[in-house]
């Protein structure tokens, strides 16, 4: 269908309303021409009388005589191996001065659901070199593990460090990084790009940039393009793909704007009632398919408005992703990097990626024991502030000290410090060794005998 219409009856926010068309399909790709410019949109609602279109590049410059063409096809992404190394806009156009992508295949971006029966259980340990992740919130290949952060916290540094250091133990494999920026500042984007360039990562990356001053509706496309690319690299080209997107909060704001423009009944705090489903459609595009070599691992970053984890954006995300890494303002203020608070953090797939054959047999026990005393030590800080440290029992004093040392030695590490999982476990054991052995109630005696520094002959005094 190539007929052009000049029957726009209304332009509202990111939406245009077009009348008297031939039958138009739901979700169809639409091209709108005004002056010399070509914008793209997608059909959100179609009926005999009127068609509602969301315009990705924004409706600025459009008027009632702009020409609208319905393409009869859904939005597709051009893909070829040459996409690796490219910097594209948030709607997939070259942004690096390079040529358009010459497609080997065109793929719909909506993302069909992976058949749950075709999924492979993710269980390959990925070493990020960061103790609070590897040791206590282990990432596995095929997982979706977001970083929940707050404005002004160093989540980007954490994401970059992960992108630089992530590796599977003892394997050299082809892998790629996809980076989707949604509404971040130019400065932030440059920070990422410079780091990619410095480390040579750009050569195996695909970058999609939608910056703060780019149209907000375009952000609805960006993760879909990134994920379509990820699926191509992972399941056509057998690569292990790590996809980082930032900032999901901006993406959700765009969804909210769209909902408001369509005068939908809003859900919680003004966000659309279908936001859970919409986010799930993105996040669920992580995983491994049985019989395929590649994988998709997702690292979405989102800043929690007002540091509030119950806000719908982190809340709905947490309900979909397989855990979350929490960047804490309090630890950041104490000067600890990475300021990851392990207590509310969680990796749900940790269990399948640790232990004998993956990391080390004592991993689970050490992690549990570290958690238990760090959590207890934190609680005691409150008590100590009220009754004074002296009023605490001997045991409680030890636990309180443990929490402090845990932050300084285990949590804190350099931005370029790439710790192996064994170094991480060793640090854990050294901290635990400062407690009496009888307090290590969560660790099997056989592991104590084997790994406790006291028995390994490397004990500190």
């Amino acid at each position: 269908m190539t007929k052009e219409y000049k029957t726009i009856t209304e332009i509202k926010g990111p939406l245009i309303f077009v009348e008297k068309t031939e039958p138009v399909g739901y979700n169809e790709l639409v091209e709108i021409r005004t002056g010399g410019e070509l914008k793209r949109g997608q059909v959100l609602d179609t009926s005999d009388e009127i068609v509602v279109v969301q315009v990705f590049e924004g409706t600025g410059g459009l008027s009632k005589d702009s020409a609208v063409r319905f393409t009869g096809d859904v939005i597709k992404m051009p893909l070829s191996p040459a996409i690796v190394g490219r910097v594209l806009s948030g709607s997939g156009r070259p942004r690096d001065g390079g040529p358009e992508i010459v497609p080997e295949v065109m793929r719909g971006i909506a993302g069909a659901a992976i058949n749950p029966a075709s999924r492979e259980k993710p269980r390959a340990f990925i070493q990020t070199g960061i103790s609070t992740i590897d040791g206590t919130n282990t990432l596995v290949r095929g997982q979706k593990l977001p970083i929940f952060s707050g404005a002004g916290l160093p989540h980007n540094d954490v994401a970059l460090q992960i992108a630089r250091q992530a590796k599977a133990l003892g394997e050299a494999e082809s892998f790629a990084v996809i980076f989707c920026a949604m509404g971040i500042t130019n400065e932030e984007a440059q920070h990422f790009l410079a780091d990619f360039e410095r480390t040579g990562a750009l050569e195996r990356a695909v970058v999609f940039l939608n910056l703060a001053d780019d149209p907000a509706v375009e952000r609805i496309l960006t993760p879909r393009l990134g994920l379509t690319t990820a699926e191509y690299l992972a399941f056509d080209l057998d690569m292990h793909v790590l996809i980082i997107y930032t900032d999901m909060t901006n993406y959700c704001e765009s969804l909210r704007q769209m909902g408001a423009a369509r005068e939908e009944v809003p859900g919680r705090r003004g966000y659309p009632g279908y936001m859970y489903t919409d986010l799930a459609i993105q996040y669920e595009r992580a995983g491994i398919i049985r019989g395929k070599k590649g994988s998709i691992t997702q690292f979405p970053i989102l800043t929690m408005p007002g540091d509030d984890i119950t806000h719908p954006i982190p809340d709905l995300s947490g309900y979909i992703t397989e855990g979350q890494i929490i960047v804490s303002r309090e630890l950041h203020r104490k000067g600890i990097y990475p300021p990851i608070d392990i207590r509310p953090s969680l990796s749900r797939l940790m269990n399948s990626g640790i232990g004998k054959g993956h990391t080390r047999e004592d991993h689970r026990a050490v992690s549990d024991q570290l958690y238990a005393y760090y959590a207890e030590g934190n609680d005691l800080r409150g008590l100590a502030a009220i009754v004074g440290k002296e009023a605490l029992s001997e045991r409680d004093k030890l636990v309180l000290e443990f929490a402090d040392k845990f932050e300084k030695k285990f949590v804190n590490q350099g931005r370029d410090e790439d710790r192996s999982i064994f170094e991480t476990l060793q640090i854990g054991w050294e901290l635990l060794a400062d407690l009496p052995e009888s307090m290590l109630t969560r660790i099997d005696d056989k592991y104590i005998k084997q790994y406790h520094p006291k028995y390994a002959g490397t004990a500190k005094k």
Partner: protein, 576 residues
């Protein structure tokens, strides 16, 4: 049958004209014939929810009627299946369309080609009524599939009955009036299957989870809700229950949740062994996996499809447990569809009929006298995912009005890695009184006494902890310091139970009882010692106390426990 026309498409909801279909009838939308259901009729307009993605569907495309509502296909071969929300076998979908689900595929819920060996249990001349078993098929090594006269049919006298190998469509018996019976029933998923009468809950459903069996037990045929914020342990608990519950059949409905979780379950269940039978767990299980990224309309239907299959096995006289993870995603699917209908929203945008739908669903649970004679049960465990972990929201509140057991997950416990994170002060079971006689008779006469004692200690502990937060524990009187210590033991040695530990994931009743009794015994010793003037510090540091912590991890725990208790006796005798 009429063919209508699409008038409007917006997301999963389509409007059409020119149809005569009734409410909840199945219709096929568009050139591709996408499976859909009528969910509203106003004037000459039908509102239709489409179970598949509607991208590309245009006004003017045809809508075909089928003349029937969405039904579940019920017959041998359901066990071990993995279905989507409208009972399409996912493995068959994968054969048809590869690793990603494409649309417009029709696959039957049961295999119509496979032959099953039918063994009649009635003979020519016998009179049979609705629900009665006329024959059996060995569906799994240890599970017989009863072939029943369909409910609501008249029944009659058997004129002919065969034995041998048949497909589900082939006639296995003929009644005097000419009615032919085969091994397939079709039942509309939104209607409850009938029973003779519902029975009182008097038998506990053993879960092997101490906090549940010991404190907040579920009855066979009972209903329980497990609400909690993200990551508090709903899925792990439901999977653990599906593994160890002493029921015959498990129906696991993954409703709008994660694909990787389903992969995990599908990976584990064929390998894990049912402790009651020694057979793979998968043989007694049926999985519905309509993950969060699969179409919402099919998500909405999945709860009903799962319930219908559960009822069907109940009607054979089995104890069935259905778990639904998560009923909140089901409610949200309703909300999403309702908002596309432009209905007047109720609380937080949910449709005004939310409470009624939840009630109808939980009402379908129960232990009952079944049509065919004997008893069967459907127990339901529903996860609830309240936004922000706030239990005052509509889905949690409407659910609590219906269910009898409330396992309140507590994110403070989760953060301390105390699992299961079921709060022992807020949770309850309204089956308590009904089940107590059973425990006294079948486990130990002291079961209830010990349970009350332990709960009282935890209650007192909660009050004391508030004081401790102000003054520190050393300022408390000695006997209260002991209470704190015993409470700590109950919490850490008994309530905490790792689903990941090979032994501790399942704890038999006797072990549950003995472990708790041992902790209470420590308290008795401690109180006695205090009276003799022994210091709290001494009492707290008897070595046998810490040894008690690890008994639960032993599979042959009895000798270990005996040793620890003998040691404890010696420890306390030695205190001066």
């Amino acid at each position: 049958m009429e063919v209508g026309k699409v008038k409007r498409v917006a997301g999963p909801v389509v409007q059409a004209t020119g149809l005569k279909a009734s409410m909840y009838d199945l219709v096929l939308v568009g050139e591709e014939g996408l499976m859909s259901e009528v969910i509203g009729i106003s004037g000459n307009k039908h509102v239709i929810q489409v179970y598949e993605d509607t991208g590309g569907v245009k006004p003017g495309e045809p809508v075909k009627e089928t003349g029937a509502p969405l039904v579940a296909q019920l017959g041998p071969g359901i066990l071990t299946s993995i279905y989507d929300g409208i009972q399409r076998p996912l493995t068959k979908l994968a054969e048809a369309s590869g690793d990603f689900i494409s649309r417009g595929l029709f696959v039957d819920g049961v295999d119509h080609k496979k032959k099953w060996e039918f063994k009649p249990v009635v003979k020519k001349g016998d009179t049979v009524k609705a629900g009665q078993t006329i024959g059996e098929v060995q569906e799994q090594l240890l599970i017989k599939h009863k072939i029943m006269v369909p409910p609501r049919s008249k029944g009659g006298t058997i004129k002919e009955i065969y034995s041998g190998n048949f497909t589900v469509d082939e006639t296995v018996a003929v009644l005097e009036d000419g009615t032919k019976l085969n091994m397939l029933q079709k039942w509309p998923v939104r209607q409850a299957r009938p029973t003779i009468k519902k029975l009182a809950p008097t038998i506990p459903l053993r879960t092997g989870q101490r906090v549940i069996d010991g404190f907040f037990s579920l009855a066979k045929g009972g209903t329980a809700a497990i609400p909690g914020g993200f990551g508090t342990g709903k899925t792990v608990m439901q999977q653990t229950l599906s593994k160890w519950a002493d029921v015959d059949i498990v129906v696991y409905v993954g409703c709008g949740e994660r694909g990787n979780e389903m992969a995990d379950l599908l990976h584990e269940f064929p390998e894990l062994v049912d402790p009651r039978t020694g057979r793979p767990l998968m043989e007694r299980s049926i999985v519905f996996a309509n993950t969060s990224n699969m179409p919402v309309a099919a998500r909405e239907a999945s709860i009903y499809t799962g319930m219908t299959v559960s009822e069907y096995y109940r009607d054979m006289g089995y104890d069935v447990m259905m778990t639904a993870d998560s009923t909140s995603r089901w409610a949200e699917a309703m909300r999403e569809l309702a908002s596309r209908l432009e209905e007047m929203p109720g609380e937080e945008g949910y449709p005004a009929y939310l409470g009624a739908r939840l009630a109808d669903f939980y009402e379908r649970a129960g232990r009952a006298d079944i049509l065919g004679g004997g008893q069967g049960s459907v127990s339901v465990v529903g996860a609830v995912s309240p936004p922000g972990g706030d239990f005052t929201e509509p889905v949690t509140q409407n659910t609590l009005r219906m269910v009898k057991v409330f396992w309140a997950l507590d994110s403070k416990l989760t953060q301390r890695r105390h699992f299961p994170s079921i709060n022992w002060l807020d949770s309850y079971s309204l089956y308590d009184k009904d089940l107590e006689p059973w425990f006294v008779e079948n486990v130990n006469p002291d079961w209830n006494k010990n349970k009350r004692r332990a709960m009282a200690i935890l209650q007192e502990n909660a009050e004391l902890e508030e004081i401790v937060m102000l003054v520190g524990s050393d300022a408390l009187p000695e006997d209260q310091q002991i209470t704190l210590e015993v409470a700590r033991m109950i919490i850490n040695f008994w309530l905490a139970q790792s689903a990941m530990h090979p032994v501790d994931t399942f704890c038999p009743y006797k072990k549950q009882f003995e472990l708790l009794a041992a902790i209470l015994k420590y308290r008795d010793y401690a109180v006695e010692a205090l009276q003799k003037g022994i210091s709290v510090e001494q009492i707290k540091s008897v070595p046998s106390k810490d040894a008690l912590a690890k008994v639960r991890l032993e599979s042959e725990y009895e000798p270990v426990l005996q040793k620890v208790m003998a040691q404890m006796d010696a420890d306390f005798k030695g205190l001066k």
